[in-house]
Structure formats: structure tokens, C-alpha cells
């Protein structure tokens, strides 16, 4: 109970974390409540009359291919988030392993890992992802999509976490641990990892956000999972059918509102977590 009150009073001071969490919670609620009332099967094409503006029967209207757009949003939001989370977790996971190996053991491995990450980061990620997506297969599933995005998602975490490890390993308590005979892995998991946890969490959230951005980018270009109602695919159809010019506003307003909410939520959570990871930021608001 006391701990809960502590959390409450901290989030009261850490506004960004609070706002971000609330935004993301709102989305989760939308999906959970939506699932109770809406049949996600209606997110398939031809399950409703086409191009109806919002009405009692179809609160979000329907698109040109006859998808119930409320069902599309309810079914698609978790799919987009799933791509982001799979790719984000893989990215930070692989990135951490590489970063700890490079930053802690140094030497030749460090040179190689650092150079690869540095060079990889200057290359425009979306274009390489496009090349991969085009070469791999013509139609992708949501999970394959996540793997493609993950193939570059480790670059940024590797670089930034490595920098953190480099500063940490020079600290007195790490040296002390080494002198008292702890092995490399023990130091990494028992000494370095715990103090980096908030930082890793912030990196994870921003990686998820970057992965969602990349996946939506691929989808808008027409390289996404064609038969899945993800948010990016909805935007692809919006663009494909020129819904903007034709004045079918109900088709593009919901996906844009949801995507903006996702990005704003993740952005504020990252800032909030940064504040925890780097207490010096707390005074300079």
C-alpha cells in the first residue's frame, strides 16, 4: 500500500510518465472494450456495405472495400503494437548483448561491433528495410513484418547502451567487484545491469516507437501484410483510394488519431523514463 502511494506521488511529479501512461492506457481500454462489442471478423473486406459515413450501425463508417472501420481499428491497433513490441524487444535484446560484450570486454570485438553500428546508423533504415521486404516474399504476415523491422532495430540500442556501459565500467564499485573476484558475467548481471535498468527501459520504449514508425512506413508504401487490418495498411488503402481528395474523412481520421496517440504516449513515457534514468534532468524542467 505504501509502495503504491509512493508510485502515485512520484507519477504526480513525473508528469510526462503520467501523461504517456494515460494515453497508452486509453488505447488499451479502447481495444479491450471494443473487442467486447465488435466482431473483429468485420475488419475483413466485403463484410459491410462500402463507403458508409458513420452511423448507428457503423459508428466509424465503412471503407471502400466494405470493412467496418471500427472493427478495423479494434483489430488493427493491437497488430501494429505487436509489430512494434516484437521488433523493439528483439532490437533492445540483441542490442544489449552486443553492447555489454563490446563495452565490457572491449578489444577487437568492440571495434567490430562499434564500427558496424556506426556505419549502419548512417544508412537510411527505411530503404534497407524496403530492399529486404521486396526481396523476401510478396506477401508477409504480421510476425514476419516484425522480424524484418527487427533486423535493423538493434543498431541504435547497441550504440547508446554501449556508451552507457563504457562510463559505468570505470566506476569504483565495478572495479571493486572485479578486485573481489567476480567474473565478467557476474559483474554484468549483478553490478552493471541493475543500474542500467531504467535506461534500458527508456531505450526499449523508444525502440518500440521507432519500430512502429518503420512498420507503418513500409505498410504505407505497400510492403506490409496485405490482408491484415493494421493501422499502416489502413493508411495505405486511404492513400491508394485517394480518400483525402474524395472527402471520405471518416476513413482516415481514426487511424491518424490512434497513431498520433501511440506515438505521443510512447514519447512521453520515454521522456518520463529518461527522467528516472538520469536524475539530473529532474531539476532542469
Amino acid at each position: 500500500m505504501n509502495a503504491l502511494r509512493g508510485v502515485m506521488s512520484y507519477t504526480g511529479r513525473n508528469r510526462s510518465l503520467l501523461v504517456g501512461t494515460l494515453l497508452l492506457l486509453a488505447l488499451v481500454l479502447f481495444v479491450v472494450i471494443g473487442r467486447m462489442f465488435v466482431d473483429t471478423e468485420d475488419a475483413r473486406a466485403l463484410s459491410a456495405p462500402s463507403l458508409r459515413s458513420p452511423s448507428w450501425d457503423y459508428p466509424f463508417g465503412t471503407d471502400r472495400q466494405g470493412r467496418d472501420l471500427l472493427a478495423v481499428m479494434v483489430a488493427g491497433t493491437p497488430l501494429t503494437l505487436r509489430i512494434g513490441f516484437i521488433a523493439g524487444f528483439l532490437g533492445v535484446g540483441i542490442g544489449s548483448v552486443l553492447a555489454f560484450t563490446a563495452g565490457f570486454y572491449r578489444g577487437m570485438t568492440d571495434t567490430i561491433i562499434r564500427s558496424v553500428a556506426d556505419i549502419g546508423l548512417t544508412v537510411p533504415g527505411l530503404l534497407v528495410l524496403i530492399l529486404i521486404a521486396v526481396s523476401v516474399k510478396s506477401s508477409l504476415t504480421v510476425n514476419e513484418m516484425a522480424l524484418i523491422v527487427a533486423s535493423l532495430a538493434w543498431l541504435y540500442p547497441t550504440r547508446t547502451i554501449r556508451a552507457q556501459v563504457l562510463t559505468l565500467r570505470e566506476r569504483g564499485y565495478v572495479e571493486l567487484a572485479a578486485m573481489s573476484g567476480m567474473g565478467g558475467l557476474e559483474i554484468i548481471f549483478l553490478e552493471l545491469m541493475p543500474s542500467l535498468l531504467p535506461y534500458l527501459a527508456a531505450t526499449l520504449v523508444s525502440s518500440v516507437s521507432a519500430a512502429i514508425l518503420a512498420s507503418i512506413g513500409l505498410e504505407v508504401l505497400g510492403l506490409g501484410p496485405m490482408d491484415s487490418p493494421t493501422l499502416g495498411m489502413t493508411l495505405y488503402w486511404v492513400n491508394f483510394n485517394a480518400a483525402m481528395i474524395n472527402g471520405w474523412w471518416w476513413w482516415w481520421v481514426p487511424p491518424i488519431v490512434i497513431i498520433v496517440t501511440v506515438f505521443l504516449g510512447l514519447f512521453f513515457v520515454t521522456i518520463g523514463l529518461d527522467e528516472i534514468a538520469n536524475p539530473r534532468l529532474r531539476t532542469s524542467t
Binding site: 556505419i119 546508423l121 548512417t122 544508412v123 533504415g125 530492399l131 526481396s135 505497400g222 481528395i245 491518424i256
Partner: protein
């Protein structure tokens, strides 16, 4: 020292070029597609032709395109072609070559990107510096939260909103294309102003979104710099406020911003590709979209290669200019 630094940076650039070409060559091979057979089957299905003799045709074409040679030989000639910027014909726009199409689209993208990046970097950096400066007007601070929030949104999404507001609702600006249909291209006042009108919305959607990021980073750097002893000393000497601001604070705080610029170019470009797609702006991004729609492998590969090389070149230039901005860097070997 200087020469060694430039040589090392140039080496990295060559490495990037080689990697891009290698990626282009091997990625399609991994998927195990047989381009000749696929294309022939497609055409046979379209024309309803007899399928006998198909195998001989596949063999004949494979020999002609050198696809029956060992992989390493194919790779060698691919590298040779790529080094000569020969990306083959565009499959969807035959007989036009990939190079022609890219050369046509490139100025649009370079123009859009150069203008927007320069503007957003300058405005954002200046805004961030002013935000950290205690003597700047108060109302500036109210600008920050909206710019901050915008910064979290992808360019093209904001572009869609701009299209709706300014091109659909009030119809002040054109919503699609790089120039009016039927316009005569050339360096006439009419055409240039037409292009400018068409570029406003795509440019705004990149600038307004990215300004917040630059401002945020610059503000952080300024706060740190303003705490430095030399700034306190400059103020104690009674130097003019503008001198302290520009020469002592901004001059030093801007250094990490330039490094960040080199790193951000790739991201800005990825975002701009999508902006071009939704605005139908006739640059590399729209060409790429078209190539993906028509499954034009050679065109896609050519574009990806060109963009990676162009961006590597831009980073190279920034990195070479950097020691001139920050004299410490050239004497320091990267640790």
C-alpha cells in the same frame, strides 16, 4: 593528421558504397527467385502463349544475361556495372534506364530535402538557444509544447493533416504533384512559382515536425554550456549580452548539433520518402513507390543504392567540415 582523418572517413564512405552494392546483389539471391522464369511465365500467362520451348527460352535468356555463370563472376560484373552507375533497364518503363529515371527525380528530392533540413535545423537550433537564454521573451516558451508534441509524429501523418486543412478545406494550396498538370517545364518565373506553391505543404510537414527535435536538443546543450566557467567570466567582464549569447554559448553548444545532423540525415530522408508519396511529389520517394507497386526490382535496387551513396556522401562532407567547426576533433583519434 588532417589528411589521415579525411582518408579514414573516405575509407568508411567506400565501405558503405561497397556494402550497399553487395546488399543489392545478394538480398534478391537469398529469396531464391528466378527473375527470368517469373517474367516469362507472367508474359506467357498474359499472352496465352504455348508453354512448350519455355525451358529453352529460360536457358537462352539466362545465358544472355550471364545468369548461368558462377555467382562470384556475376557479383564481379555487378560491382563493375554499379561502379559505372549502370543499373540496367527499368522493367516497368522499358526502354528507359533506371539511371535516367533517377536522374530525373533526384533534383526534386535534393531540393526538398536541402531546403527543409537547412530551414528546420537553423530555426530549431536558434529557437532552442533562445529558449535556454533567460533574457529571451516569455511568449517563446509557449511555442515549445506544441512543437514538442509534433516532433513525436511521423512527417507524412502531419502532411495528411496539412493536406486536409489547407488543400481540401480552404483550398489555398495545391494538394498533389510537383507542378500543375500541363505546365511547361523550364526556368521561367511561372514554372518556378508553380513548383514553389506545390512544395509549400510537403516542406511544411517536414519543417514543422522536425523543428521541435532540434530545439529540444539545442536547449539541453545550451543549459549545460551556460553553466561553464568561461560564460560566467565573459559576463563578469561585462561583454555585451548578444556577444555572450552568440560567441560564447551558441558557438559551443552548436557542435553536438552538427554531429546529430549527420546522424539524422538518414531518418529525415526515410521520412521524406513517405511525404513525397502522399503528396505525389515527383522525387525519389514517389518513384520508389511506383517501382514497388509495379514490382520493378532493378529500379528499386537502383534507388536504394543511389540514396545510400548520396547520403554517405553528405555525411562524409559534414564529417570533413566538422573539424573546421571544432578544432579539437582532428587531433583526437576516435576512441
Amino acid at each position: 593528421m588532417q589528411a589521415a582523418y579525411i582518408a579514414r572517413r573516405f575509407g568508411v564512405f567506400l565501405l558503405i558504397v561497397w556494402l550497399a552494392a553487395t546488399l543489392n546483389f545478394f538480398l534478391p539471391k537469398i529469396s531464391g527467385q528466378d527473375p527470368v522464369r517469373t517474367k516469362l511465365l507472367q508474359q506467357a500467362a498474359l499472352g496465352g502463349a504455348v508453354q512448350s520451348g519455355m525451358e529453352e527460352m529460360v536457358k537462352e535468356y539466362n545465358t544472355r544475361f550471364g545468369l548461368d555463370r558462377p555467382l562470384i563472376a556475376q557479383y564481379g560484373s555487378y560491382l563493375y556495372d554499379t561502379a559505372h552507375l549502370d543499373f540496367n533497364y527499368s522493367i516497368a518503363n522499358y526502354p528507359r534506364t533506371v539511371r535516367e529515371l533517377i536522374v530525373e527525380a533526384l533534383p526534386w528530392t535534393v531540393g526538398l530535402l536541402a531546403t527543409t533540413t537547412l530551414l528546420s535545423f537553423t530555426i530549431g537550433t536558434l529557437l532552442g538557444a533562445l529558449l535556454a537564454w533567460p533574457r529571451s521573451p516569455r511568449w517563446l516558451r509557449t511555442l515549445m509544447p506544441p512543437l514538442w508534441a509534433l516532433h513525436a509524429i511521423p512527417f507524412f501523418l502531419f502532411g495528411l493533416i496539412l493536406i486536409y486543412l489547407f488543400a481540401f478545406q480552404v483550398q489555398w494550396l495545391p494538394m498533389f504533384g510537383g507542378y500543375s498538370p500541363g505546365a511547361v517545364q523550364g526556368f521561367t518565373w511561372k514554372f518556378v512559382s508553380d513548383v514553389a506553391m506545390h512544395s509549400i505543404l510537403p516542406a511544411l510537414s517536414i519543417i514543422l515536425v522536425s523543428v521541435g527535435g532540434w530545439a529540444l536538443a539545442m536547449r539541453g546543450m545550451m543549459v549545460t554550456t551556460m553553466g561553464e566557467d568561461y560564460v560566467v567570466f565573459a559576463e563578469a567582464k561585462g561583454l555585451r549580452s548578444t556577444t555572450v549569447f552568440l560567441r560564447y554559448c551558441v558557438r559551443n553548444a552548436i557542435l553536438p548539433q552538427t554531429t546529430a545532423l549527420a546522424l539524422a540525415l538518414g531518418q529525415i530522408l526515410s521520412g521524406a520518402v513517405l511525404v513525397e508519396v502522399i503528396f505525389g511529389f515527383p522525387g525519389i520517394g514517389a518513384l520508389l513507390y511506383q517501382a514497388i507497386q509495379e514490382n520493378d526490382q532493378f529500379l528499386i535496387q537502383g534507388i536504394v543504392f543511389t540514396v545510400i551513396v548520396a547520403l554517405g556522401l553528405a555525411t562524409l562532407v559534414l564529417d570533413i567540415v566538422y573539424p573546421w567547426l571544432d578544432p579539437r576533433i582532428s587531433y583526437r583519434k576516435v576512441s
